[in-house]
Symmetry: C2
Subunit: 405 residues, 2 copies
């Protein structure tokens, strides 16, 4: 019988325990073997819990117990979680995690240890919560060259933008509401500044390149500057403003990962993804495109993804490291191209300077302000255009890229 | 080095060969071993093909060649394909197929042989074309009890309905266009009568129950009776008419699989799935719901799914049968409940008999015809209501269920 340890009994960890025991019979049938949760690690007191005898405050109880072959890390952060996961992997224990910060910052190192110790470090829950995306990408779509990924990878900001779009709330009111509902944290920086989405696109970028892409090398812009006026103008243009995390492969093999609010036209299913839901569109040379949609966070949805990994580990333990779900460290300057090389149609809202509007642009509104969408141009060109407006005394009130997929 | 045989060099089979050689390097890297296509089976002459030396007209060349451990069946139909797949499995060869008719009719038998011979019979490509759905269902979502699946599983009918919705074409003109574009066959019965979607929902139903569900036990209705008038009235109600294949698990463990045109309200992403695309919404007790979207057919999309299976077989060959992707034969009367027990809101278009309209109904239009949507009722109740209208001298011009997910 395989023994499992759960690290952290917060929202996700308690969900893992709950869902495991709720569906234990069918889970073990699918795994094809017997298994149980032996330890739950948490520094808090859970003596009233029905699982009280499983709790420990000492990671060494788990690390040094050779019976434990599978560890589900649900603590979050990249300090204690990093130490604990590393210690477990060094003992050859399989680890699955929901911790995107850990994977985005330390993935290459932890994957290398897993390979050395002939075990697996899985992280399906780290991107898109419940949505199966990691395994489909490297298994089901393994025959494809993945050329582009773009999606909504942060539910909190999607909720906020949804309130702006559907209920005409401004950003700060929508953020307050998200905080009241528990969707946004007291310090909402990681969500609204795009850092959370950035970690997730780093993980997907690493997976499709086989090289660790670090968050600091990803152009990242959040939604704090999005005004209700631009939300309404986007609507007039036939688009919704969404926080899009994306990565594009260039012909030279380099990639451009980025996170930014973009106009997504209604023809794209991504524009229809509402509330706290996530969605990831994947383009490949075989599939054309496919989209994966679901709950990007939450207790049982995230637990479902962690347990999916655990079941896979139960089925495959002892048969070595899955090398398709891995990547190596690398000098990011050799693989990440400057985001300014990326090309999109661009939405501008300016005061004056109409003669500077490029030929071929589509005018959305021409009143006190001139609002238009250009033909495709590079971000470098868009910044030159912005500078030209400014030099001519016109103010660029907003500039947003348009997602074409 | 593993040797692969491709059965059938039609649209899908030639796509498998093309995509394999296009991405051979990355495919073998992901598989972690060397492999090549040794045989292509087709009765036609391909002596001008760059792969001419691989062609054979004799299945025994493949069956009796012990070097061949993996077979990709892309012939279609359940006669020759059945004999050939069975012969390969009996020799312990792993088979992957895009053939939904074969899986829906003979899955239990072929899976039993695979189990006996310690190999795998995979069929990711048989449902949703390029869309990863089979593997995500039984791997990534393995911790869930799947409670409901509903989706668009036939691209041809979705194209036809799309032309009716967006371009106000009537059914026969839209069908003609689909035939001209090669989306519909000369004899369109399997698509427009729902048989193709039925086979696919049988496969998904079998996967979530572990019991083979046969097509003849699935209530199936196609789109031939859908009128442009109902398409327009659905729009007024805020819904699109889509051909929905669905299965619902009841509390007593039985299931209700069915295929029928339904009103899908715009709030549901499924209503936004256009053109020949497919989408599958899955509900589970962990994930809440997730949706998978992509191309449901076509040369390279389907080939991508077949090769995803082949890569998995390359990675795992020799390690036994994956028991999570299997089911056994059963008496369907013990597991399939009468569709009449299913409950939905119901759309009615009637001439007269207004006093028979149930309380709580929403009136869509009240002119020469009375058009309304009821509160939730069973199909049995809806048939009683239909009979009551008829008895009162009113004609029921249309009756359609509303999808609630």
């Amino acid at each position: 019988m395989s023994k499992i340890a759960v690290l952290g009994y917060g929202v996700v960890g308690s969900g893992v325990v709950e869902l495991f025991y709720k569906n234990k019979e069918s889970i073990l049938k699918k795994a094809g073997k017997d298994a149980d949760i032996k330890y739950i690690l948490d520094i808090r007191d859970f003596s009233d819990s029905p699982y009280s005898e499983k709790f420990t405050k000492d990671i060494n109880d788990i690390v040094n117990d050779d019976e434990v072959t599978i560890v589900a890390e649900c603590m979050g952060g990249a300090t204690f979680a990093y130490d604990f996961v590393k210690a477990c992997l060094l003992k050859g224990k399989n680890v699955s995690t929901s911790n995107k910060e850990l994977v985005a910052k330390k993935g290459a190192e932890l994957l290398a240890i897993a390979k050395e110790k002939n075990c697996n470090f899985f992280f399906e829950a780290s991107v898109g919560g419940a949505i199966p995306i990691i395994r489909p990408l490297h298994k089901c779509l393994a025959a494809n060259q993945i050329t582009q990924i773009a999606g909504i990878l942060n539910g909190t900001t999607n909720f906020i933008l949804g309130k702006m779009i559907n209920d005409s709330m401004d950003f700060s009111d929508a953020l307050k509401m998200a905080q009241e509902l528990g969707y946004a944290e007291k310090d909402p920086t990681a969500d609204v500044e795009g850092h959370d989405a950035c970690r997730k696109i780093c993980i997907l970028s690493s997976l499709i390149t086989g090289k660790h892409i670090y968050p600091e090398n990803v152009y990242t812009k959040g939604i704090t500057e999005i005004s209700l006026r631009d939300v309404k103008l986007a609507e007039k243009f036939g688009a919704a403003i969404k926080l899009i995390a994306s990565v594009r492969k260039l012909d030279n093999g380099k990639i451009i990962p980025m996170v930014m609010p973009m106009l997504v036209q209604y023809e794209s299913l991504i524009s229809r993804v509402d509330d706290v839901f996530n969605a990831v569109m994947v383009c490949g040379d075989g599939i054309d495109r496919a989209m994966f949609y679901g709950r990007g966070a939450g207790k049982l949805p995230t637990a479902s993804a962690v347990l999916g990994d655990v079941i896979e580990q139960l089925k495959t333990e002892g048969s070595g490291t899955d090398m398709a779900q891995t990547w190596v460290d690398c000098d990011n300057s050799e693989i990440v191209a400057d985001y300014k090389e990326n090309a999109c149609r661009m939405y501008f809202r300016v005061t004056g300077g109409k003669d500077l509007m490029p030929a071929g642009s589509e005018i959305v509104e021409n009143g006190d302000e001139l609002v238009f969408v250009t033909e495709k141009m590079t971000f470098a060109e868009s910044e030159k255009l912005e500078a030209a407006f400014t030099a001519a005394g016109a103010e660029v009130k907003a500039k947003l890229a348009v997602l074409d997929m």
